[in-house]
Symmetry: C2
Subunit: 295 residues, 2 copies
């Protein structure tokens, strides 16, 4: 691909992703309880945290695997939004003083700074409850995929690993393990659930899952590289916090350059997992490239 073609694909992809992001935001607005309805402070807090920004990576990936698997219609928006609700729930609890103690998130005050810690704990809990409510009609396989990604061997386990490794010397394989649980599990579940809801064959569903595991790990590495190199603009938060807290990240263990190399290799490996879907749907591979192209 020559330079001009690459640019044109890149511009199209950005418009494509932006359109999906706006759609996701519209559906999130429908699914979240109205601010004017009691308990108002809880609903306001839930909405503040969800609409404080965010690239909507997880719901968009769910939509892309749904479309790549031939899925049609609006049925994907509930499970897709579930992924963002649960991601936001994890951020809200992660930002608490007893966890990462962050004052800013995406350039805005974190939820507990505005609403108090008690409301932040409960708003996180309520986002998780809403996620399950929305997912309830989708049957045991979707639900089990989701709870596995969320639980002790998934996102929550990863957050514990993160918390417990602060200030300790960790090996690369320990960091890998934490990131697989903390980030990759939910991204992999988003992709798998998109394919499941579209009714894709089992083998393709598993391909999307493996694609997500690798892409998710690459995504976390890229995020940590952006944080380590102080790229405030790309992250919209006070960077350097990971070093200050001596958190377990790829850049802190093997340095920035080696981390970038690994992230790029992971994205290539990820793409090889989804060669089967229709060649006319290039957006998943492009989105994967786009994620790693941030560094």
């Amino acid at each position: 691909m020559n330079q001009t073609a690459a640019q044109s694909v890149s511009v199209d992809l950005q418009a494509f992703l932006e359109e999906k992001r706006e759609l996701v935001d519209r559906w999130l607005d429908r699914f979240l309880p109205p601010e004017g309805e009691p308990p108002m402070v809880l609903h306001q807090a839930m909405r503040y945290s969800v609409f404080a920004g965010g690239k909507r990576i997880r719901p968009i990936l769910a939509i892309l695997s749904f479309e790549a698997s031939g899925g049609k219609g609006d049925v994907i928006f509930a499970p897709a939004c579930v992924m963002e609700l649960v991601h936001t729930f994890s951020l809200v609890h992660d930002d608490l003083p007893c966890m990462d103690d962050d004052d800013l998130r995406r350039g805005k005050p974190t939820l507990h700074k505005l609403f108090g810690e008690g409301v932040a704990v409960l708003a996180g809990d309520a986002l998780s409850a809403l996620a399950f409510e929305l997912l309830a009609p989708f049957g045991p396989e979707v639900l089990t995929t989701f709870t596995k990604a969320l639980g002790p061997r998934g996102m929550l386990g990863g957050q514990v690993g993160d918390l417990k490794s602060e200030g300790k010397k960790v090996t690369l394989s320990q960091v890998e393990e934490i990131h697989k649980m903390k980030t990759a599990a939910l991204i992999a579940a988003s992709l798998k659930i998109g394919a499941l809801v579209a009714g894709a064959p089992k083998e393709e569903v598993e391909g999307f899952f493996r694609f997500g595991e690798k892409l998710g790990l690459a995504f976390q590495i890229v995020d940590d590289v952006l944080e380590a190199t102080g790229n405030d603009l790309a992250l919209g938060k006070v960077t350097g916090g990971d070093r200050r807290k001596e958190k377990a990240t790829y850049p802190s263990v093997i340095g920035v350059e080696k981390s970038k190399t690994i992230a790029r290799r992971l994205v290539e490996e990820a793409k090889s997992e989804i060669v089967f879907p229709d060649g006319n749907y290039p957006y998943l591979s492009l989105a994967a490239d786009y994620i790693v192209a941030r560094v």
Copy 2:
């Protein structure tokens, strides 16, 4: 019923409830992840909070409505245990310094005192995730009943109301509203789900739900009366805390005696909702009497 007959029924009921409690504990032990499996600190924290005591009221009520509806076999134990997991999750978050700030629960140190606040937040989250995992195979109606009881118009909404009313003057109807959400919603859901899993007819299922709403409110009033009258033995915690924090309770608004009267009336009303099941299964009515007999 003469005094001797009443005593004998009461003794039988206690043995009956104790047997159910032991069964519930055995199943909770099976459902909770092993302590020796990573992330160990999370699994230890989950187990500590669940096995720090507790009367297992919610799972027992689910089992009783299941049995009263003719349900047979072990299928009820997963949904029954779910109710205890979610109740424990709410206690763990409720005890945090940013919420009720309690050092003792059921006579033992609260989870965050032993494991730190960060782990306590995540262990609560993980108990809630496990609850959904166990409930996933039970179908949309059970799941929706549960998420409704848990969400902003249920338990979590009640906790917000509780938090926001501290130190403020509240009316009796505001307190009633908070308690219906905070406590009665999950108890009503436990009873409804027991009947649903047993395949009871719709009308009976709704009867159990209404029974639970009234019993749940009575239960919270009785708990607050025990707290207000400083009955340490019955609650196994440092009592008087509600007054110290000026929490919204029936005794603080209308006094202890009127609260007792209302609790007793609610139990009578509750029992009238479940006249339909087989007269050979008296345990639900007896358990309702037993709950209010604590004061």
